[in-house]
Structure formats: structure tokens, C-alpha cells
Amino acid sequence: MADNTTPKTVDSLLDTEKTFKDRVTYFGRFLWRDRSGVIGLIVFLIVVFAAVFAPMITDQSPLDQDLRSSKMPPAWQEEGDWAHPFGTDSLGKDIFSRVLYGARVSLMVGLFGVLIAGTLGMIVGAIAGYAGGRLDAAIMSGVNLILSLPYLLFVVFIAAVLGRSLLNVILIFGITDAPIFARVTRGEVLRIRESGYVESAVSAGARWPRILFDHILPNLLGPLITLATFEMSRMIFYEAGLGFLGLSVPPNEYPTWGNMLAAGRKYMTSYPWMASFPGLAIMFTSLGMNLLGDWLRDVLDPRMRRSRK
């Protein structure tokens, strides 16, 4: 127990032996406090795992049609079969494997979409924030133009024009989402510019690359990673939406959750599982990523860090 009569020395503070049990309890408490973030991370990892290891998890191919076993219900219902745990669709394709392989598309769209949008947006936003003045105003009005329009409308419009392919979808999202990254980056760059430490680094003689990497980038990374998580979740959403309208990857090339929903929509009343499972997959992924994003936001915000300890 600490007492006030003996002066504290540094040695005495280091005296406490951390047993293994202490470490486990400390870690456990950390997990519990941030349990929602941990859940989000686990969900995300499950999705990644499913996507990457799909061929090993299921031996069914997502593209094989087998009209004899078409329209089978999930395994736990009558007429179901554990060979097709989630049942089959109207052409006999196994839904479980399609959900797993569909995760690949969703993740790719999300990941690359965010990479493109993030890179583009970051460059544009950084230029705007750093240059200031008229260039900033010009860039930002362009950004605001794109942001103030009904996003969905234009995504759909563009997708309709460009035609169906995975690359198109990624490009569309990458470009249309860049403004959001631009705006956030610009805001952060402005904030960093205003705060004193860049000035003090410069006056202490630091050179530009060092300032960029030691001071500016670390502060940008936090909000941008958080934003990237949310936007990735949104892109998975929107891809599904496009697929639903038949504007995403054509269903015979590749299963995506969106086009599974579109296909299943017709059979909603008689064979509801065809649309239910992809929808659940989307929800599951979205939920996990939103939880993760919320947690990241709390953890990476330097102001919050102090009060969280």
C-alpha cells in the first residue's frame, strides 16, 4: 500500500512483480472494456477467413449448377441436406459456398475501393488543406458538389452506363468515395497546420520528409483508418445494392452477395432462404465493421486516449 511518509523512489515503483496471472487479468479487463471493438474485430476476421479459406471450408463449387438439387432448403429443415448447409438456389448452386466466395468479392470491392478512394482523396485533400487560399476553395467546391448530390443515384447511373464488371464497380466506388476522404484529410491537415507543433518542428530545424513522416502522417492516419473502416462497410453495402439491381458482376461469372439477393428476390415467398443468407452475411459483415470502426475511432483519437488509459 502506498503511504505518504517515505519519499517515493523510482526503484520502488519497479518493484512490483507482474505475475502471469496479473497479465492475464489485465488483458482480460482490456478485452472486456473494449468488448464491442473486439467483437467487431473478430467478426471482421471471420469474414476474411471465410473469404480466404473458402475452398477449404466447403468442397462445393459456387458456380456448379445441378438442376436436380435445385431449390433445396437449408440443412436443418426437411428435404435439406448437410451437403448443402444453406440450401441451393434455383439453378442448384450451393448457397453456402456462394456466400463464402461472395465474401471475396465484397472484401475486394471494399478493400480496393477504399484504397483508391483513400489515396485519391488524401492527395487532393492534403493539397487543398496545405495550399489554402483559392486552390483550396476551388478544390473544396468541387468536393462539395459531389458530396451534396444524391450519391446513390449517381452510383447507379454510372454503373448503368459503364456496364457490369468487378473492375467498374471498384472504380466507381473508388472515385465517388474519394471526396469524403478528401474532406476529412483537408480538415486534419488544416488542424495540424494550425496547431503549433509543425511550426516548432520547423523552427527546431527539422527537414521536410521528417516533418511529414513523424508529425503529419501519424496524425492523419488515425482518422483516416477509422474513416476507411466505415467506408469499406459502406462499399460492401452499396455493392450489394448494385448487385440487387443487376448492375454489379454478372451472376454467372462470380457470386456476389448483391446478385444473390437479386436472384433470390423472385423466390422470396416460396424459398426465402435464397435471399436471407446473403442478406445476413451483409448484415454480419457490416455490423462487425461498424463496431470495429467505432472502437477504432475511440482508440485512435488522441484526445480520448488520455481519459481511457
Binding site: A2, D3, N4, T5, P7, K309
Partner: protein
Amino acid sequence: MAKILEVKDLVTKFYTLDGVVNAVNGVSFDLEEGETLAIVGESGSGKSVTMMSLLGLIPMPPGKIEGGTAHFTGVGGRHDLLQMTPEELREVRGGQIGFVFQDPISTLNPILTIGEQIAETLTRHKGMTKDEARKHTIKLLGQVGIPDPELRYKAYPFQFSGGMRQRVVIAIAIACTPQIIIADEPTTALDVTVQAQIVELFKQLREALDVAVIWITHDLGVVAGIAERVLVMYGGRPAEIASVDDLYERPQHPYTLGLLGALPRLDARESKRLVSIQGAPPDLLLPLQHCPFAWRCDFAFERCWQEIPSLITVGERHETSCFYDLEKGAPRDV
């Protein structure tokens, strides 16, 4: 002179996730009618918390008042503030005790006119109609030195400068002719020239209204300008209470000595190094078991580490909580 506030052994603690913060560890002082008392101390000394806990202005979880009495003699007689119900306290706040806070831009509601913000105390405590309140507010604005009060009534806080905003805050404080004004670092956020104006304003108002003032600050220079008596706090304890003259001429507590020595003076003949008090502020998370200043005190001896010194009288209305007699240069025999 009659005493209007008698605080005895106030203890306030905050129960936080990091532990129990012993913010106020037994503070006692008196305030007479029309008297100006300055409460001086560093950040963390407990000077703000003391006054805020008396009036129920600290967040009650995690804050908790664990001891003491605070008898306020107001319009309804002599009552213990710490025993009052929230409704009773609400009558006192604003109506009999007014407040001036530190940073006038954040103290005022940005989307209400300043006239409205002053008038609402009048309608609340004096039962005035909106029209009466408006007229009275305009008078108040004139009193605190705001030009064109009829026009300014409808203005918003962002349209004023810092000094003007603080005048508005003062107008709110004096609106219901309170017995006490509690000013918590009212000039700290202002420019030095504006500071002087505000201090002047206070002096005028206390003359005109015969109101007692408790001026909380860390700036001893301001104290000399406005206070009649001073309470020096350290580590949540009262270090010394005295009249301003006594404090400056015969400080009895080593902390006071340190504070005075740290004051830069314009009339210093030779350039003297500013004496800073060695050491760091006390850790309020640890329960107090001895004199909080012992770590940093040049005169500490064994007794200082074993007991908490209580206030002892060392002159006329001059008390200190120290076991060492600075004038004699030896421990006291108390």
C-alpha cells in the same frame, strides 16, 4: 461586522475510476458582510472546488461532500448550505449568491441575447415581468459600463469583446443584489489592461452594493489590488488566513513565504532571481496523513510528517496551519 458565511471543516472528495481524489481536506474560514476575501492557491489546491461544493455546483457523482458545515446568513436566516435541499439551494444561487466565472465566451450561451441571459435571473428570483426585467437589465448594463445598453440588450455574446462579455457576466451576478459574489478567476482569461478595468469595476460595485466578494485566483498581484483578507490554500487545506497587510508583512506559513518570494516586483532594486518553490504539487489521490506541504517545505521537521496541522491563531484574525514558527525560527509549542 456580522458574519454572513461560516465554513467549518469542509471535506469534499471525488470518487473516480482512478481512485478517490481528496480535493478539499478540511477547510474553514469566515466571511463578514461586505468583506472581500481572496482565495489563493495553485491549480489543484481546492480553491474552486471549495466554493462550488458549497453551492451544489460540483457533479455529485463522482463528487461527494463528506463533512463540515457552511452557515450562510441570508434573507431567510442562518442556514447550513450543506444541509439544504436542491430546491433551497436553487433559491440561493443567483438570488443571494452570484457567480462570475473565468472565461466569458464559454460562460455565456452563444445563441441567446445577453439581455435575455441577464433578464432570466430577474424573472426567476425577483418575479419580474418580462418588461420590468428588460428595463432593469438595461439599467444593469449601464451600471457595469456597457455603452448603449438599449441597443446592446439584443446583442449576442459573440458580438462583444472579452472585457465587455465579462461585464455582462458581472451584470448577471449582481442582478438580484446578492449578498455574496463568488468570482472564480474572473480576470485570468483577459488581457492585462482589461483585467485592471474589471478589478476597478468590482471595486465600484462593491462600494455601491455593499456586497461581499470571494475572489478566487492564483495571481497574488490581483489580490493586492482588491482583497481585504486572504485565504491561502494548499493541497486541499487552508495554509493561512489573514488580512492582506498581515499576509504580506508577516506571513506565517512557509508556502505563503514561497508565493511571495516568487512574485516579480517592479520595485526590486537589484535584479533578484525569482524564487520558485521546489518540488511538485501533491498527489490528491493519496489520503492525507500529514501536512501536505511537507515535501516542499524548507522548515519541515518530524512532527510535520506525523500529523495534519490544524489552524491556529497567530494574530488578530490571522490563522495558519503550520507547526513551525517562522518568526521565532523554531517549532511552535502548541
